[in-house]
Amino acid sequence: MNNIWGPMDQYDPVVWNWIIAVYLFMAGLSAGSMLVAIGLRWFKQSRGLPVEGLPVIKASAIIGPAAICAGMALLVLDLTKPFQFYLILINYNFTSVMAWGVLALLVYIPLVFVYSALVFEKPLLQRFPALTGLAKLCRAVEPLLLKLIFALSIAVGVYTGFLLSAMISYPILNTAVLPALFLASALSVGSAGNILVATLFFSKKESDCIEHVHRIEYPVAFNEALCLVLLFVGLNFSGPAAQAATAAISHGVWAQVFWIGVVGLGLAVPLLASLFAPHHWRHTKPYLIAVSSCTILGVLSLRHFVVYAGQMYIS
């Protein structure tokens, strides 16, 4: 039968686009970077090692606030009413994952700035001596602050996953694996981001902590891979519509993004590099830059893949 009911454009199941994918990526990057840096700090402290001036921590103090701000800017721009975005700050519906996310971010963002301020306390106070009192106050509660940021970072990382998984009609999205997957990939991209920024801007010879960061990457990548496997195996057992969605990794352009971007760049390259790269490469800048860039691209691909392929299949 001919279409006599009119244009179908408005029924495109892909509602959220690359802007949301990049936003989710940025939020993950910020949260992951905080988690890795704070984790590293606690790890060092537990061994009585100094933590001041570590390149990775400096990197996180840049990435943490910058990524989340960029992400939020994109998010606001993507609203159909960007100038009324404040409405979302004054109206809350607590059945909505997004409302919880807004609350979490509302606390997280200023705290990340405080964190950053403490990391760069010296140059900051040189410029703005007036802030000395405030800085002292913050320093005093720093341990608590770090715990809070750590918790909120987990919340933000997981939130980006829950945001999508709350949509019940998309089989790829509507799964409990997704928050875990997003947290794992947030950690990957957080550590890779930290390494990249640290290597580019802050690293002199203290690359040993970069090595530490590097070490957590394997379990994280493993988790990420596991989540992906779980996701698609799960789909296979969740009825015909979900089963059909497994085509996301076998057909079309998003399958290519998945295999080349997510699996290739994001998982295989770092893994192969750590297995086969000659030892003397491992602490060189080009190596670190290349590998961490691959991880970052992989996670960016993952966010795009999930957002697009996730919305394309509907049950």
């Binding site: 039968m1 408005q10 409405l87 979302i88 109206n91 519906n93 509907i314």
Partner: protein, 190 residues
């Protein structure tokens, strides 16, 4: 909330003529490029000559357990006292979460108001004047019936109690309030 408005679409009586589609647009002032309602004629399915079409009404299902309401961060997508789900233009930021979350893909951004729009059972237009929804009134073959399912004497209740019917995507737990009387194959004789 002692009313439970529902709509019944009899796919046997429906001829896919789109009178409802157009009437909805005129009555509710829906801009040209979007629509609250389509009746898609899908098919033919089957083997020649035993073919059949499916007349698929695509519009808001007025879910009793509405994903759009659940996900809306601001409460702009909300259930009214009458149980009808509509959009509060003043509260909406246009995050599109509800649009993405609606399993029936019937929410769209109204290019004039910049907020999501969808069928609201003509709540602010015809219902407010005590009339039946536009699509129901206009339907040439009386394929649509609208009313309060909580009223035991309502026509909708009678239909639901006497005719085989189904709802779309029940497995998602949305409890849609559009009921459909499936088309018989090979004739619609009562």
């Amino acid at each position: 909330m002692n009313k439970r408005y529902v709509m019944v679409h009899d796919e046997n009586k429906c001829i896919g003529c789109q009178a409802c589609n157009v009437a909805c647009r005129s009555e509710n002032g829906i801009p040209d490029e979007v629509t609250r309602l389509q009746v898609r004629i899908e098919g033919p399915f089957g083997q020649f000559p035993n073919l059949h079409y499916k007349y698929h009404r695509v519009s808001c299902q007025q879910c009793e357990n509405a994903p759009c309401v659940k996900v809306c961060p601001t409460g702009a997508a909300a259930v009214g006292d009458d149980g009808i789900i509509s959009v509060d233009k003043e509260k909406c930021v246009g995050c599109l979460y509800c649009v993405a979350a609606c399993p029936y893909k019937v929410r769209f951004i109204n290019p004039e108001t910049r907020v999501p729009d969808k069928c609201d059972f003509c709540k602010s237009t015809r219902l407010a004047r005590g009339e039946q929804p536009a699509c129901v009134s206009v339907c040439p073959t009386k394929a649509l019936t609208f009313g309060d399912a909580n009223d035991p004497n309502s026509e909708v209740n009678h239909l639901l109690n006497t005719k085989l019917n189904y709802q779309d995507k029940l497995h998602l737990g949305t409890e849609p309030r559009i009921y459909r009387i499936p088309g018989n194959k090979g004739g619609i004789k009562a």
